[in-house]
């Protein structure tokens, strides 16, 4: 190494003032190192300041962050530099030279009391700027049907479930693009639609086969051996439960009780129920659908 190494400097820079950066800065400062905490936003805090709760403990985000914000503000060894980007890094470990580009703030931080009057009086900012989204084009194979479904349900109370159900039953799954389209037409955020689409077991967001083989896994069928039926279907179709055969003909699925407990164990293919199925019957059931395939 060169001679820079011999003149090590007792200071550090933390880039990014999120919750991790804040904690790093505090730890460094506590061990006696001078810290420069920089962030390109007007204030430190990062994403966590926008969250209500955090994974995995569901703790309140502000409760974790606020004590650290205060501690950083008070710490004599931490210098917070906001609205700054790194331009250039010179030197090596122990002796870096960093050039920052600090943008103007137009407000004197030393005198500002944070009253917020300037924000409420500003004629241009402080207004929601809607993001211009591209209009979603549906693929031709879905277009007609999806538009029909969305239009006929749009004005109902709580339109989301009926729309998703009808699309799911029309195509056996929910194509991704149609979800974007629903979001655009109904105003539900895409994240919400996805939450619903992945919550219910009847919906699928991956394509499924023409025939959905539902092996009932209700209690009655279970004690009468539906697990072994499932294995047999799995052997014959060469797919695991919840998977689709490569030719897109069959999707194998376990289902929660189809209410045919008098006929346990039961299997439902499409809307047709087969009762008192034994392992020997499995190939016959499948062959019924081979012909129509």
């Amino acid at each position: 190494m060169n001679r820079d190494q011999s003149r090590k400097v007792g200071s550090a820079m933390v880039v990014g003032g999120g919750i991790a950066g804040m904690q790093a800065a505090l730890d460094l400062a506590e061990s006696g190192i001078k810290v420069y905490l920089i962030d390109n936003k007007p204030a430190i805090g990062g994403v966590m300041s926008q969250l209500d709760k955090t994974f995995p403990t569901n703790d309140c985000a502000m409760c974790i962050m606020a004590p650290r914000l205060v501690a950083i503000g008070r710490h004599k060894d931490i210098e917070v530099i906001t609205l700054a980007d790194i331009e250039k890094i010179d030197g090596g470990p122990g002796n870096f030279r960093i050039t920052l580009n600090k943008k103007a703030r137009y407000v004197d931080e030393a005198t500002c009391t944070g009253c917020g009057t300037c924000v409420s009086n500003c004629p241009t900012s402080n207004r929601v700027q809607p993001v211009q989204k591209e209009k979603i084009e549906l693929q031709p194979e879905f277009k007609e049907k999806v538009i029909e479904i969305v239009e006929s349900n749009k004005n109902r109370d709580g339109p989301l479930m009926p729309i998703l159900q009808q699309i799911n039953s029309a195509f056996n799954y929910l194509p991704e693009n149609t979800l974007n389209y629903i979001s655009q037409e109904t105003g539900y955020p895409l994240a919400h639609i996805l939450r619903i689409a992945t919550f219910y077991s009847a919906f699928s967001i991956v394509p499924r086969g023409k025939h959905i083989v539902n092996v009932c896994m209700g209690t009655t069928c279970y004690v009468r051996g539906s697990e072994r039926l499932m294995e047999r279907f799995s052997d014959l179709l060469k797919v695991k439960p919840e998977e689709t055969t490569p030719d897109m003909m069959y999707t194998l699925k376990g289902v929660r009780c189809i209410g045919c407990c008098g006929l346990a164990p039961a299997v439902m293919v499409g809307d047709t129920v087969f009762g008192k199925v034994t392992i020997k019957d499995v190939p016959d059931i499948l062959s019924k659908y081979k012909k129509t395939a």
Partner: protein, 650 residues
């Protein structure tokens, strides 16, 4: 309409349709046309008859002769003998197990005799797709009585006096729920009929929709009038396509007759109902979650209070009743609260529908008065356990309920005694288990279910069920440790305390009740590493008994992983390292040979297979020379194959 000599009440519930009821209908119609009987005999399509185990079935009226297990090839003979010549066919009648003589009349069959039909009063009698038939059976007379003659408060008073409690599981007094909602001053109000019958093993709501949808509509209309609602929803599982279709037909007919819509029966009361489908989420049976699901929100439950009766769907007061509760309402109005409250016990009034399923001879739907003893249900109505096996337990209340053991068989069935026994009423599933059912496996099954279906909102339910499942899996795989059972109990009670909705607070019940009554089975799994019922895969081995094997190759051909070695007339040997324990060999082995057995515990651990295939004849010789080698107590599981005829031995 011409008067017919004979009406054939052909059951077309989901069960019988699966058995080919519509094929039978076509054959009957062809046959009666062939003999020119079409003006004398009519085929009536009815809803579920309840005796699903005997399906496809029909009842010949006016005589009331019951024919079960119908096949299209029986029909020509039946039509010729019975409808043309007037000689009922004994071969197709119901034969009770203990007797040889068939019971011709439906009313004499024990399964039907003990029942008391209030909610299912029209099952198997009317065509559910024809409103006129419901009206002919005093349908819509209750609404006719309520609208001009009774004030909403009087209706609530009547329901309160009848002592009707919610049939969905928790048993909240229906009248009180209505009262809370009717006291709210916010409008509009809503009524929701809950048909999200998620409990595996229960199907009374489906059957009700399929056999008598109008009784639900009438009950809903009365409830709406009582609380002042003008709109209703019916929330039904998407897994019930036939029920949804019949309800849609019923709703449109009711609208045509002016029984729904504006100014019902000339009064100032407006009401209409819309069907909403669920999409396969168990938690949606919970009322707040159900509301969120209809609203298109993420279907997680929320904290109560405020109860939905105060703040419900779209922020408005909402009454949510199980559809079975609603179908009871018209009968109470017609026959009076005093009559209704005489049926049942001091705290549980009226009747309850149960689906009697599992390891029982007569499976099907039954409606019995509250307070009936479990013994009567199992042995008199259900006809006991098939193949003379021992009754072990009955599971009630679905994943929220528990198992009631053999020694509590005298238990009266009502809300309180079921709760006291560690189970619950639930929606009314009764799954009978015999000695071949492993209680650890059952508990594992339910925890797996609730773990899958937990919406994930509360940590106790989401992660607690995961932890329970982990321990149960360990026990069922023979890795259980001392103290596991105590841990299950402790964690179970903690989950009960810390969860918000009904799913979480009742989730540990299957474990708590099985630990309470079947602790010895848990201990056998943990200490002796054996599964007494021979179910838990890791603790059993399949074994071909050389003394019984005839070398027929049936199991060799069936084995999906080719784990069975053997040639014709050589004793077959299962390679334990390849065996996946699917049980197909046991099922295929003909019952009179019954060479394939299951071993567990010490027997399984110390199992020594034959070193190589030996000809059957040679084995017989060696065996007589050295008696006692390779002998184990053979355990035979009889399967359904006996009803289907023996397998062919080549």
């Amino acid at each position: 309409m011409a008067v017919r000599r004979i009406d054939l009440m052909l059951c077309t519930g989901t069960g019988c349709v699966a058995g080919g009821a519509f094929r039978i209908k076509d054959t009957i119609e062809n046959e009666i046309t062939k003999y020119g009987l079409q003006n004398e005999v009519s085929v009536v399509i009815t809803g579920c008859n309840g005796s699903c185990g005997q399906g496809p079935l029909m009842v010949v009226q006016p005589d009331g002769i019951f024919y079960g297990w119908l096949k299209p090839e029986d029909i020509p003979f039946l039509v010729q003998e019975h409808f043309l010549k007037g000689r009922p066919v004994k071969r197709l009648m119901f034969v009770p197990l203990e007797r040889k003589e068939p019971v011709p009349l439906m009313s004499n069959i024990p399964f039907f005799q003990k029942q008391m039909l209030i909610v299912l009063r029209n099952k198997g009698i009317i065509d559910p797709e024809k409103i006129d038939e419901y009206i002919a059976r005093d349908g819509y007379t209750a609404i006719e009585k309520v609208l001009p003659l009774m004030k909403p408060d009087e209706v609530i008073e009547e329901i309160m006096r009848s002592g009707l409690r919610g049939r969905g599981g928790a048993g909240f007094p229906t009248g009180r729920k209505w009262k809370v909602c009717s006291d709210e001053r916010k409008f509009p109000k809503y009524i929701i009929g809950n048909c999200d019958e998620g409990d595996p093993g229960a199907y009374m709501d489906r059957s009700l929709f399929e056999s008598d949808p109008h009784s639900v509509i009438e009950g809903m209309t009365i409830a709406a009038y009582a609380i002042g609602a003008s709109r209703g929803y019916i929330y039904v599982r998407t897994e019930y396509p036939l029920a949804i279709r019949r309800m849609q037909i019923a709703l449109s007919q009711a609208r045509d007759y002016g029984l729904l819509g504006k100014k019902i029966l000339g009064s100032d009361f407006d009401f209409d109902v819309e069907i909403r489908e669920g999409s396969g989420a168990f938690v949606c049976g919970e009322e707040t979650s159900l509301i969120h699901s209809i609203e298109g929100k993420s279907p997680e439950p929320r904290q109560r209070p405020p109860f939905p009766a105060q703040i419900g769907i779209w922020g408005c007061p909402t009454v949510i009743n199980n559809v079975e509760t609603l179908a009871t309402v018209p009968v109470i109005i017609n026959r009076g609260a005093d009559w209704f409250s005489k049926i049942g016990t001091a705290t549980s009034k009226g009747t309850k529908i149960f689906s009697l399923v599992g390891k029982i001879n007569n499976t099907g739907l039954i409606e019995v008065p509250m307070g009936i003893a479990l013994r009567e249900i199992i042995y008199e109505i259900g006809g006991g356990i098939p193949k003379n096996k021992k009754f072990k337990a009955v599971q009630t209340g679905g994943p929220s309920g528990g198992c009631i053991p053999n020694n509590l068989i005298g238990l009266p069935i009502d809300y309180e005694s079921l709760t006291k026994s560690g189970s619950m009423m639930g929606s009314g599933g009764m799954i009978v288990m015999d000695e071949d059912t492993c209680m650890v496996d059952v508990a594992k099954f339910f925890i797996q279910f609730t773990n899958d279906e937990s919406c994930g909102k509360c940590t106790a339910c989401r992660d607690g069920s995961e932890a329970l499942l982990e321990v149960l899996t360990r026990i069922s795989e023979g890795e259980g440790k001392e103290g596991d059972v105590e841990f299950l109990e402790e964690l179970g009670l903690a989950i009960k305390d810390a969860s918000m909705c009904g799913l979480g607070t009742t989730l540990p019940n299957p474990i708590l009740s099985t630990v309470r009554y079947f602790k010895d089975e848990y201990e056998a799994h943990i200490r002796e590493k054996q599964c007494p019922a021979r179910v838990c895969k890791k603790l059993i081995k399949y074994y071909v008994d050389p003394d019984r094997c005839v070398g027929c190759l049936l199991c060799v051909k069936t084995c999906p992983v080719s784990a069975i070695k053997g040639e014709l007339k050589y004793i077959h040997i299962i390679d334990q390292s390849l065996c996946t324990k699917c049980g197909q060999c046991l099922e295929i082995c003909p019952p009179r040979i019954a060479a394939v057995t299951k071993l567990t515990g010490k027997e399984a651990r110390e199992l020594q297979s034959l070193p190589g295939p030996i000809p059957v004849a040679e084995w017989k010789k060696t065996k007589s020379a050295s008696k006692g080698d390779f002998r184990f107590t053979p355990y035979r599981e009889e399967t359904d194959r006996e009803h289907r005829g023996d397998n062919e031995v080549p």
